[in-house]
């Protein structure tokens, strides 16, 4: 009997805390279905009364003369181009570090781990100058191109995964006359697909939510991403309505949440495997 009470108390505490954690998000979602003037008057209540869709209709019309789906399209293009580059290049580099022996390997590996700890602010200004010199401002290039040179966090994640694959496999393939390139493409690459999936998911999150890249490099309304659009909604807060801003905030979170619930396993494994923050 005592044990059952303790179990009930445990669930009460943990579930209560969980509800508190999730409450802000619930509040955002529910508020997006309330008429703007009522959002703060009825802030204490989660249930919209009346329940309306107008905020979504209003928000979908967009801001700054651009419909909202254009921002989504821009973000999607950025995400897809960046993620393909980041995952493929990181897998190639990870294989090199994990399985090939060459002079200076541990030196470059140390460098890679150090760059993971480098504050981004230090390279922000000179990178901006570099991309301005190259004439890349107001294009996706400054955000996409660097992803094709391996992302240290992903390299490390995939390396950790490759290390769990027995080296006997490599040896067998080599005896069968398989070169290193074929070994990677035919044997290792299919086996590390789960780690590449983890990397792809993190890449998706980072690019989708990225604000500073688009703020620095995308200063044409035709290139604005979802992050920028939301910031525009916020800047126009006094003249426009909160409802539309809340509704489009929810829209911006939908892909993130869908990916999260669909691929949770890969995220948890990615974090546990590297012991690093995602």
């Amino acid at each position: 009997m005592n044990a059952r009470w303790r179990k009930a108390a445990y669930h009460l505490v943990v579930a209560g805390l969980a509800f508190l954690m999730i409450y802000p998000v619930l509040w955002l979602v529910m508020s997006s279905f309330k008429p703007s003037p009522l959002i703060f008057v009825t802030a204490h209540s989660l249930i919209p009364n009346p329940w309306i869709w107008d905020n979504y209709v209003e928000g979908w019309k967009g801001i700054g003369g651009r419909p909202f789906y254009e921002f989504i399209r821009n973000s999607a293009v950025l995400v897809v181009l960046s993620t393909i580059g980041a995952v493929l290049s990181s897998a190639v580099v990870a294989f090199g570090f994990a399985r090939l022996s060459f002079f200076g390997r541990s030196f470059w590996f140390t460098i890679m781990m150090l760059t993971m700890m480098l504050p981004h602010d230090v390279v922000m200004v000179p990178q901006y100058v570099l991309f301005a010199e190259l004439g890349w401002l107001n294009s996706f290039k400054p955000i996409v191109v660097p992803q094709y040179f391996g992302v240290p966090f992903f390299i490390f994640l995939i390396m950790q995964f490759i290390r769990t694959i027995p080296t006997e496999l490599d040896e067998a393939a080599t005896i069968d006359g398989c070169g290193k390139f074929r070994l990677f493409a035919r044997v290792i690459a299919p086996l590390i697909a789960p780690a590449m999936a983890s990397a792809a998911i993190f890449s998706f999150y980072w690019r989708w939510e990225d604000l500073i890249g688009p703020v620095l490099y995308l200063n044409k309304p035709a290139l604005y991403t979802v992050s920028i659009a939301l910031k525009l909604f916020l800047d126009a807060e006094s003249v426009s309505n909160w409802g539309a801003m809340f509704a489009m905030s929810v829209v911006s979170l939908v892909p993130v949440l869908v990916v999260f619930f669909a691929f949770q396993r890969y995220i948890v494994e990615g974090i546990s495997m590297t012991g690093l923050k995602g």
Binding site: A18, A43, P126
Partner: protein, 309 residues
């Protein structure tokens, strides 16, 4: 004869080197182009006056001198940033460890709980969440409504610099999920036999936590502490969105990254911003080194690698 063999072996080694470098070359090229050279350029720019439109002009140590002796806003942002880091990182890690220990049981519902607790970390960096946070803490937002329901005074979160900074700290603590997952994985690796033995010897829950859990988790704690501290120093989006890019009120949320961004891209003081970046690099590097050095006294490494049979 042997000369021929040596030649063949040399060729094989060279081919091996070439293949190895071919695989890691994307990283090396990217590192040179997007990290090493920019870091060096940043160092050069920090001794110049530069606005992107005209070539940089060498001004010696003027930027550093102005920063340290003639810019109260700079010191304000340093103070705000250190307060933010000192409060948010320990709170976040403590909360992550607390929840990880709560969840380190074998209930079936753990999966659901873990998902819910982790969710804020996934969406936390987005503009949507910053907008949400801003509105939760409005004068008649949910937080004040809750305070009033508890019989407390509402807080003017946007009127008081300290309150505004706490709003950002709470947002950071709310995203404890990824640290929690790492701690949870670490807790699962502690053999339960340690706890059983301690219990037989009459150790209470506090003793078991202090003598077993903390020492065995300490390498993970160190690693998290370092990564989270660096990340906290670079916090930008919440301050930029929640205070609409100004660090208001009274510069109470003018985090270092935000001030650097404003110097570089609002006022076009690229040289000054580079000097700020270099000071940040040195400070963060020194702090990381300090954590590593002191870790000898508080991080416990098991004698045998892995610790699992």
């Amino acid at each position: 004869m042997s000369g021929n063999m040596r030649w063949r072996r040399l060729r094989r080694t060279l081919a091996e080197q070439a293949v190895g470098y071919a695989f890691v070359s994307p990283f090396i090229v990217g590192f040179l182009a997007f990290t090493l050279i920019p870091v060096a350029v940043s160092f050069y720019l920090s001794w110049t006056e530069y606005d992107v439109f005209s070539p940089p002009r060498w001004i010696g140590a003027d930027n550093y001198e102005k920063m340290f002796t003639d810019d109260p806003k700079y010191w304000k942002s340093v103070y705000v940033t250190f307060s933010y880091v000192a409060a948010s990182v320990p709170l976040r890690l403590a909360f992550a460890l607390f929840v990880a220990m709560l969840l380190n049981t074998s209930t079936r519902a753990i999966g659901v709980y873990r998902t819910v607790y982790y969710l804020p970390s996934i969406i936390g960096g987005s503009v949507a969440v910053s907008i949400m946070w801003r509105n939760l803490f409005g004068d008649d937002g949910v937080v004040n409504k809750a305070l009033q329901a508890l019989g407390l005074e509402p807080v003017r979160w946007f009127g008081d610099p300290t309150a505004a900074l706490w709003m950002l700290i709470l947002l950071s603590v709310w995203q404890f999920g990824s640290s929690m997952l790492i701690f949870l994985a670490g807790l699962k690796n502690i053999p339960s036999i340690y706890y059983e033995a301690a219990q037989v010897d009459g150790a209470g829950p506090v003793q078991r936590f202090v003598r077993i859990t903390l020492p065995l988790l300490s390498p993970i704690v160190l690693f998290n502490l370092i990564m989270q501290t660096i990340a906290a120093f670079m916090t930008f989006v919440p301050a930029y969105i929640i205070t609409k890019g100004e660090g208001s009120p009274l510069d109470g949320t003018l985090l270092y990254s935000l001030y650097l961004f404003r110097q570089a891209f609002v006022f076009s003081h690229m040289g000054y911003a580079s000097a700020m970046a270099w000071v940040m690099l040195v400070v963060v590097g020194a702090l990381t080194a300090l954590l590593f050095v002191t870790s000898r006294y508080w991080v416990h490494y098991e004698a045998k690698g892995g610790g699992r049979a």
